[in-house]
């Protein structure tokens, strides 16, 4: 066997959906039998309208929800076999509203998982400084501020820093830049791209923004009405004949004419 033989998709897989479906108790199907594999180190973007089931898919990964049919595997183990607390500490989670604790300073917010993991205070503090610098905020200025003293963009940066605190191999991001104004959004997105290259994490991003999907995704999963319509590279996505993908692409081309 040659040393650089292509790793089998199975070995490379860090997250797998196998016929995973999620149905509400009232019978409404939010996600129907999805099959997809996220490879180690890639950035998968789930693109779709609001209510398409993207967030549901994301929550199946860190066990905020359990699939009602099929299974989701993380690092080869079914999520239902994982202890939910261990699983979630293994996965960074960033949400649109950031969910920063309003009664904690920036430092305390970033140190939540390290403190839960019993890191010594000094190490947690050093890590918080490092992460703030990494996400483009001056630690001396921001460590002791409270979330309400930050702008939307700054809050989002702290949200990302917090998710990275215990250096989890996987990062889930639910509309991470959705609440920002367009300019801040472009700025943070660009920085995030650089960060992504440096860190080499496995990232799953949920968005309804085609630009964001094309810019950040190594692959794009198109979700529509609870179904996975297809998986594309950004290049393939723009040329796809799949009607929904084509509609997204067409919507982008409108602006090229201006």
């Amino acid at each position: 066997m040659s040393a650089h033989s292509e790793a089998s998709p199975q070995r490379d897989a860090i997250i797998e959906f196998r016929d995973a479906a999620y149905r509400l108790e009232n019978g409404q199907l939010l996600l129907s039998r999805i099959n997809l594999t996220v490879r180690r180190g890639e950035t998968l973007v789930l693109l779709g309208r609001s209510g398409a089931g993207k967030t549901t898919a994301l929550k199946l990964i860190n066990r905020l929800l359990d699939p009602t049919e099929g299974e989701v595997r993380v690092e080869g183990c079914r999520t239902t076999e994982w202890n939910p607390i261990d699983l979630r500490r293994h996965i960074g989670y960033v949400i649109q509203e950031t969910g920063l604790f309003p009664h904690y300073t920036v430092e305390q917010n970033i140190s939540i998982v390290p403190r839960l993991e019993q890191w010594p205070r000094e190490r947690a503090r050093a890590r918080a400084r490092e992460l703030l610098a990494l996400t483009g905020l001056d630690p001396n200025l921001f460590l002791s501020r409270y979330p309400h003293e930050l702008s939307g963009g700054q809050r989002q940066r702290v949200g990302v820093a917090r998710a990275l605190a215990a250096d989890p191999p996987i990062l889930l991001m639910d509309e991470p830049f959705g609440a920002l104004d367009p300019l801040t959004r472009a700025e943070i997105r660009g920085e995030f791209q650089a960060l992504q290259r440096r860190l080499g994490k496995t990232i799953v991003i949920v968005t309804h923004d085609t630009n964001e999907a094309l810019l950040l995704g190594t692959r794009i999963g198109l979700v529509e009405a609870g179904e996975l319509k297809g998986m594309y590279s950004p290049h393939e996505f723009m040329r796809s004949n799949e009607p929904v993908a084509a509609a997204y692409a067409a919507q982008l081309r409108v602006f090229n004419g201006i």
Partner: protein
Amino acid sequence: MSLMDFLSRHGSEILQATTQHVWLVAATMLLSIAIGVPLGILVARRPWLSKPILGSANIAETIPSLALLGFFLTVPWLGARADRLTIAALTLYALLPIIRNTATGIAAVDPAVREAARGMGMTERQILFHVELPLSVSTVLAGIRVATVLTIGIATIAAAVGAGGLGEFIFRGLAMVNNPLILAGAVPAAVLALAADFLLSLLERRLRPAR
């Protein structure tokens, strides 16, 4: 009779009654916080329990206090001691605002914050003690404040079953048609209520999380 004469005659008695009053109120508050806060958390967690729990506390509130004391007097262990039955009755009245405010405060915690906490791998217990309670502490305290002021007032009735407190003067004054004697009970009770209200509102403001 001048005020000075009155005070020199009844001063030590008033002081003693006030101390007794404070003791009754303090014991009641400790007990009702110990019962009410967990019940409030329960109501916030299991909304279907809200009707039975808040409903019962509501009904307790509507029972005339004199009647409740009289009833407790006949209950075997409870009725054996005046302070015991008084504290039990006062606790019943104090519960409603505490349960209600605890439940409201916890329910008002931003769902995004709660979800982020779960997503980071905090246990339910950690979420309660590190997120939900700290964020709702000022609302819970507001409930405790209302309950305290209420209890200081109702505790004057305790004298009817011999539990002492500032009500002693009021009942005695009523029986003797002696207005200064009534005031000797009513004024310190009012001062106590105002002081408790003021101090607890200070605490409430201090502990309110920044937004």
